[in-house]
């Protein structure tokens, strides 16, 4: 990259990169830890500015959220996973309760944690990042969506960001390590990055 990688990153996030710039910049950006962290930070700020659900799993917020919610007496968010039909252990496991509504206290706590994540926690907290968020003015953050996207629209049809991240990791590993005859690489990864929750 000829220009400052941070500038390139901002251009990329703004959707202003030309195809050749994307081609040249993307591999470098993804290979540098500092730029990846900055990307995550930009991403989080962008979501907050647009009032989108904050996906805590990306920044290890989810673990903290779940722990705090457990302390508040709330169960984890409902995982929109179909129980396997059938027999023995599978049937017993399917009886585990997992669909409860978040109590108001837990929801408020989740909102507080997410705001804390945006403004206080050291998520590669470059000063300009925070300034950018602050300049954006009031943010409409839908608190209940902090831990759950709309059911049926999430990756893996699931509302638990930790589980989604785990399945993503397994899927990427599967595509990368399978030694059997494969589709062209872009096909496998098009399905990985092609999915998105509706805005």
């Amino acid at each position: 990259m000829n220009k400052d990688p941070r500038e390139t990153l901002s251009t990329l996030m703004d959707g202003e990169c030309t195809p050749p710039q994307i081609r040249d910049a993307l591999p470098d950006l993804l290979e540098h830890a500092e730029l990846r962290a900055r990307w995550e930070s930009y991403h989080l700020i962008g979501q907050a500015i647009r009032g989108e659900p904050l996906r805590g799993g990306a920044r290890a917020i989810a673990d903290g959220l779940q722990a705090r919610l457990a302390e508040a007496g709330a169960s984890p968010p409902p995982a929109n996973v179909r129980a396997l039909p059938g027999r023995g252990a599978r049937a017993r496991l399917s009886r585990v309760p997992h669909a409860r509504l978040l109590p108001p206290v837990a929801t408020a706590l989740a909102a507080s944690l997410a705001l804390l994540a945006v403004f206080v926690l050291p998520l590669d907290p470059a000063d300009e990042d925070r300034q950018l968020a602050e300049r954006a003015g009031p943010m409409a953050i839908p608190a209940p969506a902090l831990v759950a996207d709309t059911p049926g629209e999430s990756r893996w049809q699931n509302t638990d960001p930790v589980l989604r991240a785990k399945l993503d990791h397994m899927l990427v590993s599967h595509h990368e390590r399978v030694p059997a005859p494969r589709m062209p690489g872009y096909v496998s990864y098009a399905s990985v990055v092609g999915h998105e929750a509706r805005r």
Binding site: L12, G15, P19, I22, R23, L26, P27, L29, L30, R36, W39, E40, E52, G57, A58, A60, A79, N80, V81, R82, L84, A89, R90, V96, R155, W156, Q157, N158, R164, A165, K166, L167, D168, H169, M170, L171, V172, S173, H174, E176, R177, V178, P179, A180, P181, R182, M183, P184, G185, Y186, V187, Y189, A190, S191, V192, V193, G194, H195, E196, A197
Partner: protein, 336 residues
Amino acid sequence: MKRAANMHAALAAGAAVFLALAGTWSAAAPARSEASRESSPERLLSRMTQAQSQLEYEGTLVYLHGRQLSTLRIAHRIDDGQWRESLLALTGPVRAVARSDRGVTCMLPDSRTISLPSADGGSTLLPSGPFDFDRIRSHYLLRSLGQSRVAGRDTDVVGIVPLDNYRYGYRFFIDQSTGLALKIDLMDNASDPIEQVMFTDVSIERDNVEQVPIHSPAAGAHAPRATQSAGTASDSSAHGDWRLTALPPGFRVVMHGAGPDPSADGGTRHIVVSDGLASLSVYIEPAGQDGLNGATRMGATTAVGRKIAGRQVTVVGEVPESTALMILDGLQPSAD
């Protein structure tokens, strides 16, 4: 037996529908060229595999699943014999993948950046491996489906139709000039597309410079290369402390070894099962880990999981749910 008979009847009907639809579609396509009439599906697919690893290209892809449509930008480059590929989602939250012979780095909405080194250190593993046609023909029909145009380029179309309900079918639209796959459809047993990936524009820089030749694949010469311990076709093969007691027809273990440690605690075992075309991974995590309890999917990818003998087991792959479930149900600790 009755179940098998019903399955074969359903498959025959499905295959007939698939080919009928394909035939209807191909009838509207331009007349076949002399060259493509001489191109067998095997030759076209082999050429496609070669092109994937030899050509440089850049373009815009659309990914369609159900009613969801995403646009992606792809660049595939080869510098000094080393390939690099990047894929960036142009719609929705920023998602990106960068791959090379050193491994893959992936940025997704829910996770920290996923970085995995290439399974064999990057020295020999290609972005895509060759096809083992002898094996594939045991469970799929290979058919030429005529020609079509994709991204303004003429393509030959090859269909791979499953002979049972344990696997999906495919349609490849292969660029006549370069061999690059410009559109790939993944089809279910009702011949309906589950996922479609298609170039809307593409620039192939080595087009007409280093054209990938069409050649006949050597029979039996395309066995998949295992990067770790190679398994056998046994239905009850042991892999470490675990046994797979039931595998769908044609599937066998092609790799087993240490996993990517998605739990970050180490000790995850990874078993890969394949029929020569479709594949799935079995992840057996250390005790104390939680994970998927039930079945879910993302596009054509199925994931099923539950606890077995106190260990979280997750099966992930582009196969029907029944196939993944059969493997999950057949997994047992060897000590039993």
